[in-house]
Amino acid sequence: MSALLAVDRLGVSFATPEGPLQAVDGISLSLERGSVLGLVGESGCGKSATASALCGLLPSGARTTGSARLSERELTSLSERGWRSVRGRRISMVFQDPMSSLNPLLSVGEHLVETLRTHHDLSGIAARTAAVDWLRRVGLPDPAARLASYPHELSGGMRQRVMIALALCPGPDLLVADEPTTALDVTIQAQILELLASLRRELGMTMIFITHDLGVVERVADRIAVMYAGRIAEEGPAERILVSPRHPYTRGLLDSVPGFRPRTGRLPSIPGAVPSPRDWPSGCRFHPRCPHADDTCRNGAPDVPGPEGGVACFHPVGAP
């Protein structure tokens, strides 16, 4: 079976007055139908630019290189008109902040009916029935009454449920969830993750789940890709990555999440911050923050993992 989504050396650069800014620098991924990929990394490592590129939502002035194919259809060369046939029914997206992702002037029902009727040939009444059905699926209490609610009348968690219903109701092949739980309370986060996991079982959904929180990705992802400074540092099955991380960056991320590994004393952190795309370090981009860095790392970049996974490091953790 061929992959649903095949990303090959995808690059995204933004035009700025100071020249192009390479936010994503050649990432390769492969996503089987029905699987969930967790895309993990700190702020500024290119996760959201990747998501925008996959949904055709990059601002004008952004350039993409490489290729991204959804069921053999090339996405990077699509026109705006071409994107319209992809967005919603092929690739749909859940945004980070449910507070600002719904139109404050439209009710929940109007949102859903509008999206349903854009993608399916439904009468108004049939669309309302389908809308109630979707609200029930995403676990909104009293779905029929909620149709008339406006976004400001709903809590953050309820709004994110509505956003998920909106993103799923066109019946997309691929759902891109860009930090869908980041803006929520911890208890609500857990509920939304549980919802996504159960919807995935129910609908056999394929999903890219973007987050900076390894504790979150653990619950939903089959495979994990760790991004650092516009490149993929390590990619592989979720269990392998979480249990025996091989890239020092993945290791550092895992160590800084409380409760992942047994430890005593202070919670460790990775020193320094993600470098700016304006001046990526030479060689391995992680070397200024890496405890194992040597001259090899400073002078040459390690090979990036291909679609089949791997680690971009000269001195992987656990290697002799």
Binding site: L105, L106, E114, T118
Partner: protein, 357 residues
């Protein structure tokens, strides 16, 4: 919609000038609608014998000292040495005020002879002039009421048209960006460069003078609104541009909605609060512009009336000294313009988040 109505009501209840303005405007517009019924006479109902008649005196007491329901007397004039009119009342009979007479709210009943006096021959004609008469003896109150139909609607219709144009142009320019935006904004700038009032005068002078007043009315509205949209379009374009960065527009794109739908249903409605304030505040400008044109004789022509062309009679100080009541249409104009402005100010304060402190 419901929330907007609630907000409007809270503005009215908390802001006394705005509340008074609202009711003044409501009264003025209702009066315009019911003008044929409220006005004692038709707008062009003249009586040459009553040229420049002053406001009628309302009496309750007959010459013999008996009390009656309110009545007026017929009046006639002679000239004094300075050729000024001297008015005398004909006390041989009285004309009682009657409600709901001949399809009007107020009218005069049949003449009733004063006891012990013979009605003079020919029998005098009583006229009710609550606000005085003009040179042809036409009732000023009736003419103000009929004139309000033009003066009060021209602002609302004109603003509606120019707002619609601004919505289309500003919305498309802000949403499309690129060369479309550039072209439309240059067009706006050209329109804004035109000195509106002089263009109106020029066009009016170039067009036939014998046009029907209804045609002139629509022509004034069209010209005013085709000149008034540009500034608003530029503001709207800026608002739409900043809205393009918003998450919910990105979300509606990601859900596969068409650009037109996103523009009309998601982007433009966000500006309606601002638009309602802006529209309210620009109505007075249209009212004053129409009055200015009609005052100069370029707009609505006699026998049709508007508040502007009624004021034409009050253009010289000599006229005002002799017939001060000819200034009264200006009072109505003043009330309408001031009320729209106060209401607009209150709405702006209510919708402007910076003034909520």
């Amino acid at each position: 919609m419901n929330r907007a109505v609630l907000r409007f009501r809270s503005v009215l209840s908390s802001n006394t000038p705005a509340r008074i303005s609202f009711w003044v405007l409501a009264a003025l517009y209702l009066a315009a609608i019911f003008a044929p019924w409220l006005a004692p006479y038709a707008g062009d109902d003249d009586a040459r014998a009553c040229s420049w008649a002053p406001p009628s005196e309302i009496h309750l007491r007959e010459a013999d000292g008996s009390w009656h329901l309110p009545f007026v007397r017929a009046v006639s004039y002679t000239f004094d040495d300075d050729a000024r009119r001297v008015w005398t009342e004909d006390s041989t009979c009285r004309f009682p005020l009657r409600l709901f007479r001949d399809g009007h709210l107020v009218g005069l009943g049949e003449a009733i002879a004063t006891p012990g006096r013979r009605v003079s021959d020919p029998s005098p004609a009583g006229r009710l002039y609550l606000l005085g008469a003009d040179a042809r003896g036409r009732d000023l109150l009736s003419r103000i009421l009929y004139g309000s139909r033009v003066s009060l609607t021209i602002g609302v219709v004109g603003v509606a048209i120019s707002t619609l144009i601004a919505l289309v142009v500003g919305g498309i320019a802000g949403f499309a960006g690129g060369w479309v935006d550039g072209a439309l904004m240059r067009l706006c700038e050209v329109v804004m460069l035109v000195p509106a009032f002089y263009l109106l005068m020029l066009l009016r002078a170039a067009l036939p003078l014998d046009w029907d007043s209804r045609v002139v009315y629509f022509y004034i509205i069209l010209i005013l609104s085709f000149l008034g949209w540009a500034g608003l379009a530029r503001i709207l374009r800026g608002m739409i541009q900043s809205l393009r960065q918003s998450d919910f527009l990105a979300a509606s794109r990601a859900l596969g909605l068409s650009p037109w739908r996103i523009l009309w249903r998601h982007a433009l409605p966000q500006t309606f609060g601002f638009l309602s304030v802006q529209a309210t505040l620009s109505i007075p400008g249209y009212i004053v512009a129409e009055s200015g044109l009609s005052l100069l004789g370029l707009g609505i022509q006699d026998p049709q009336t508007s508040w502007g062309n009624l004021l034409e009679e009050a253009m010289s100080i000599a006229e005002i000294r002799l017939h001060p009541w000819t200034l009264l249409p200006g009072l109505f104009l003043f009330a309408a313009v001031l009320s729209w402005n106060l209401l607009g100010d209150a709405l702006r304060d209510a919708f402007d988040p910076r003034s909520l402190s």
